[in-house]
C-alpha cells in the first residue's frame, strides 16, 4: 500500500465517522455510536496498561471516580460540566497516583488479583456510602453537559471529539520513545531496568494517564446515561474491557478498538436471544483463547497471509503470521 492510498483511506474513514449520523434518523443507531466511542476510550486506555505487562481488573473503579466526581461537582456544587469533567478526571488520576506505586510492584497474576479486589472495595464503598453516592440506587436526573447534548446525535460528536483525542494520545504514547521503553519493559523487566529505564516510575506514569482517561470516560458516560449507579462500575465492566483487548488482540491498539466494536455491537445484534447470547459469547471467549490467543487481529493476519501464499509464486517470501509485534 502506498503512502498516498493509506492517507486516502484514513481520510475516508474520518469522513465516514463524521458523516454517517446524518444518513439515518434512527436515534438508536446514534446511541450505539455513542456507546462504542465512549467504551473505546476505556478499552484503549486499558490497552496502555496492558502494554506494560499488567492486566488490570479495576479500570471501572477509575471510571467510577470520574463519574461520581463529575456528577457530584455538577449537581451538588452547581458548577458547569467542564469543571466536573476536570474534577472527575483528576480524582481518577489521583487515585491512580496513590495506589499505582504500591500495586505496580506486583507482577502477573498477583496484579490481576489485587486490582480485582480494589475494584470490589471501591464498588462496595460506593454502595455503603448512601449519603454521598445514593448507594445502590445511585443518582438520577444527571444533567447533560449542555442542553444541546440531550440529542443522541449531538452527543455522538462530543464523544467522537473525546474519543479521537484520547485514542490519539494513546497511539502517540505507544509510538514514541515512551512506547519503545514500554515494549522493553514488557519483554524483560530486569533488562529494561539495567539499561536505565526506571521501571516502576515509568509504569506509574502510564498507569496514571490511562486511569485519568478512564475517569474522563466515566464522566462522559454518566452525563450521557443521566443515571449513575454502582452496577455500571462492577468487576464485570472492568472484565469486559479486558475481554475487548483480548478478543481484538492484545498486541496492538487497533486490537483494542476492534474488540470494542465487536463487544458493544454483539449484544445489540443478539438482544432477542439473551440466554443464548451469553452462551454464544462464552463460546467465543473460549474459542478465542484456546485457538486464537492473538484475537481478531491475528486471525485477520493469518487469513491475509494465507491469501498471499495462495497468490504469491512458490518460494516467494511470505510474512509469517504473528511475527509482527
Amino acid at each position: 500500500m502506498t503512502k498516498a492510498t493509506k492517507t486516502g483511506l484514513w481520510a475516508l474513514g474520518g469522513i465516514a465517522l463524521v458523516v454517517w449520523p446524518w444518513l439515518t434518523e434512527d436515534k438508536f443507531l446514534h446511541h450505539v455510536g455513542v456507546l462504542i466511542l465512549l467504551t473505546a476510550i476505556g478499552a484503549s486506555s486499558l490497552h496502555l496498561i496492558v502494554r506494560t505487562g499488567h492486566v488490570s481488573l479495576c479500570h471501572a473503579a477509575f471510571m467510577a471516580f470520574g463519574a461520581y466526581g463529575s456528577v457530584l461537582t455538577v449537581m451538588r456544587l452547581g458548577l458547569p460540566w467542564p469543571v466536573g469533567l476536570l474534577v472527575g478526571t483528576a480524582a481518577a488520576a489521583s487515585l491512580a497516583a496513590m495506589i499505582g506505586p504500591i500495586v505496580l510492584r506486583l507482577t502477573g497474576k498477583y496484579f490481576v488479583l489485587i486490582t480485582f479486589l480494589i475494584g470490589e472495595v471501591v464498588r462496595m464503598a460506593i454502595v455503603e456510602n448512601v449519603a454521598l453516592t445514593g448507594g445502590s440506587n445511585g443518582i438520577f436526573n444527571v444533567p447533560p453537559p449542555a442542553e444541546i447534548f440531550l440529542s443522541n446525535r449531538a452527543y455522538y460528536y462530543l464523544a467522537l471529539a473525546f474519543a479521537v483525542l484520547s485514542i490519539g494520545l494513546c497511539a502517540r504514547i505507544l509510538g514514541s520513545e515512551f512506547g519503545r521503553a514500554m515494549n522493553a519493559i514488557k519483554d524483560g523487566e530486569r533488562l529494561a531496568e539495567c539499561s536505565g529505564v526506571p521501571v516502576v516510575r515509568f509504569k506509574v506514569m502510564v498507569f496514571i494517564i490511562a486511569c485519568a482517561l478512564a475517569g474522563m470516560q466515566g464522566s462522559l458516560m454518566a452525563h450521557y446515561n443521566k443515571v449513575l449507579s454502582p452496577e455500571n462500575f462492577s468487576g464485570i465492566i472492568s472484565l469486559n474491557l479486558v475481554v475487548m483487548n483480548v478478543i481484538g488482540g492484545m498486541s496492538s491498539l487497533a486490537g483494542a478498538l476492534i474488540g470494542t466494536v465487536f463487544m458493544v455491537m454483539l449484544p445489540e445484534l443478539l438482544r432477542g436471544w439473551v440466554n443464548l447470547q451469553q452462551i454464544f459469547f462464552g463460546a467465543i471467549l473460549f474459542a478465542t483463547m484456546a485457538f486464537m490467543p492473538g484475537g481478531i487481529i491475528e486471525a485477520a493476519r493469518r487469513i491475509g497471509a494465507l491469501l498471499r501464499t495462495v497468490r504469491a509464486p512458490a518460494g516467494a517470501p511470505v510474512a509469517r503470521p504473528g511475527a509482527a509485534e
Binding site: 434512527d26 443507531l29 454502595v127 445502590s136 440506587n137 443515571v227 432477542g272
Partner: protein
C-alpha cells in the same frame, strides 16, 4: 425477529404434530395469502414493548414479566385484537433484556422507541432501569407502565410525563399493614430488619423502618452484601439485641426463604413477617416446614376468576413451577394498555394517556377494580392501587388473613 411469542410457539409444538407441519404450512400458506389480501385493510400489527432482566440475578423477574406479557398478547389477539380508529390491531410483543441496570434499561428503551418504533411499553421491573427508561420514553411521548419502587419514578421534574406505575409500592401498602400489625400482634415491640444493600433493599428498608418507628416500634436495621447466603451471624446478632420479630421486605424470595430457615434453626420462636416482597410460593419452597406461621404482604388472589384461568394457561405453556406475582402484574399491564387504546379509539399516545388516567375501576378479574392514586405522595395520579392482603402460611399454604381494598 425479537418477538418472543414466536420463539416460544416453536418450542411447544408436540412431536406428533411436527410431522403435519409441512402439509399444514402449505395449506395455511395458501389460505393466509387469500385472507391477508382481504384483511390487510382492516388489520394492522401494533407493537407493544416490554423489558426486564433476562440475564443475571434478577432473571426470574424478567422471565415472569415476559411470560405474563406474552400470555396477555396471545389472549388479546385470540379475542380479536384491539379495535380503534376503525381498524383492528393485532398486538406483537417485543421484549428486551435490561440487565437490571440503568445502562441496560436505557439501551433497551432506546431500541424499543427508536428502532422498533414502539409507542407503548410495559416494564421495566426495577428502579435503576425504570429511571433510565423514563428519561427516554417521556421526551418521545411513549406510554410506559413501569415498576420500580424508587419514588423518583413518579416524583420528578418531568414537565409532561407519559409514565405510570404498574403496582403498589411500600409507600402505599406499608402504613396500613403496619397499623394492623400493631393492633393484632401485640407481643411485637422490637423488630429486626435484614435487607440487602442492593437497589431494592436500600430503597425499601429505611422508609419501612421509619414507618415502623412512627407506629412506636423499635427497629434494628442491618444491611448485607447481596449474594450472601449465610445469614446466621446477622440473625444471632439481632437475637442478642433481643428483637421479638424479624422482618425482611426488600429481599429476593430465595434469600427470604433462606433467612426464614436459618432464623428458625437459630432457635428463634417469635413472629417473622414481611411487609412487601410478595413471592410467597418461592419462600415456602426454600424454607420448607420453617415457613409455618410466616406472614407476608401479598397482592395476588389466585381464586379470582381470571387469575385461576391465567394460572392454568401459564402451567400449560411453561410447565409447573413457581409462578412469580410479576407474571399476572405484567399480564394486567398489557390489558390496561389495550383497554386505554380501545377507550381512546386511537393509538395516539396523548389520547391514550388521557384514557389511561381514566381507568380507575377497571377490572379484568385479576385484582378486582384498580384505582389511580399518588397525587399527595408524588404530585401525579399515576400510581396504580389494587387490593392487597396480609397473609399467613398455615399447613404449607398461604391463607389470607386480612384484605385491604383501595
Amino acid at each position: 425477529m425479537a418477538a418472543t411469542g414466536t420463539v416460544a410457539k416453536g418450542e411447544e409444538t408436540p412431536v406428533a404434530s411436527k410431522l403435519m407441519k409441512p402439509i399444514r404450512a402449505a395449506l395455511l400458506g395458501g389460505a393466509f395469502w387469500a385472507a391477508a389480501s382481504v384483511a390487510a385493510y382492516a388489520q394492522e400489527a401494533l407493537k407493544i414493548g416490554g423489558m426486564g432482566p433476562l440475564s443475571g440475578g434478577g432473571t426470574s423477574w424478567g422471565l415472569a414479566a415476559q411470560r405474563g406479557m406474552d400470555l396477555a398478547v396471545n389472549d388479546i389477539n385470540a379475542a380479536g385484537g384491539i379495535k380503534a380508529e376503525g381498524k383492528t390491531y393485532k398486538l406483537e410483543l417485543v421484549f428486551y433484556d435490561d440487565l437490571y441496570t440503568a445502562q441496560g434499561g436505557k439501551a433497551a428503551t432506546e431500541r424499543l422507541v427508536n428502532q422498533d418504533k414502539v409507542k407503548f411499553i410495559v416494564g421495566p421491573v426495577g428502579s435503576p432501569p425504570a429511571l433510565a427508561a423514563i428519561s427516554v420514553t417521556n421526551p418521545a411521548k411513549v406510554i410506559a407502565l413501569t415498576n420500580g419502587y424508587a419514588p423518583g419514578v413518579l416524583k420528578n421534574d418531568t414537565k409532561d410525563p407519559y409514565n405510570f406505575r404498574l403496582y403498589n409500592t411500600n409507600l402505599e401498602f406499608g402504613p396500613p399493614i403496619i397499623k394492623w400489625i400493631k393492633e393484632n400482634l401485640k407481643e411485637v415491640k422490637k423488630i429486626g430488619l435484614l435487607a440487602p444493600n442492593d437497589a431494592v433493599g436500600q430503597a425499601v428498608a429505611k422508609p419501612l423502618a421509619a414507618d415502623y418507628e412512627k407506629e412506636g416500634f423499635q427497629v434494628v436495621l442491618d444491611f448485607f452484601e447481596r449474594g450472601t447466603k449465610e445469614f446466621t451471624p446477622l440473625i444471632l446478632r439481632m437475637m442478642a439485641q433481643k428483637v421479638d420479630a424479624f422482618e425482611f421486605d426488600g429481599n429476593s424470595p430465595g434469600d427470604a426463604g433462606l433467612m426464614l430457615k436459618q432464623i428458625r434453626q437459630a432457635g428463634f420462636k417469635g413472629k417473622v413477617f414481611q411487609v412487601g416482597g410478595p413471592a410467597v410460593d418461592e419462600i415456602i419452597e426454600i424454607a420448607g416446614p420453617a415457613a409455618e406461621g410466616f406472614m407476608t404482604y401479598d397482592f395476588i388472589d389466585w381464586d379470582m376468576p381470571k387469575a385461576k384461568v391465567l394460572r392454568e394457561a401459564y402451567i400449560a405453556k411453561y410447565g409447573k413451577g413457581i409462578i412469580s406475582p410479576f407474571m399476572p402484574a405484567f399480564y394486567h399491564g398489557v390489558y390496561m394498555v389495550a383497554e386505554a387504546i380501545k377507550r381512546a379509539d386511537s393509538v395516539d399516545t396523548a389520547k391514550v394517556r388521557t384514557a389511561m388516567e381514566g381507568l380507575s375501576g377497571f377490572d379484568i378479574g385479576i385484582y378486582g377494580p384498580v384505582k389511580w392514586i399518588g397525587k399527595e405522595t408524588y404530585g401525579v395520579n399515576r400510581q396504580l392501587m389494587m387490593q392487597y392482603f396480609f397473609s399467613e402460611v398455615k399447613g404449607g399454604k398461604i391463607v389470607k388473613i386480612k384484605k385491604f381494598t383501595p
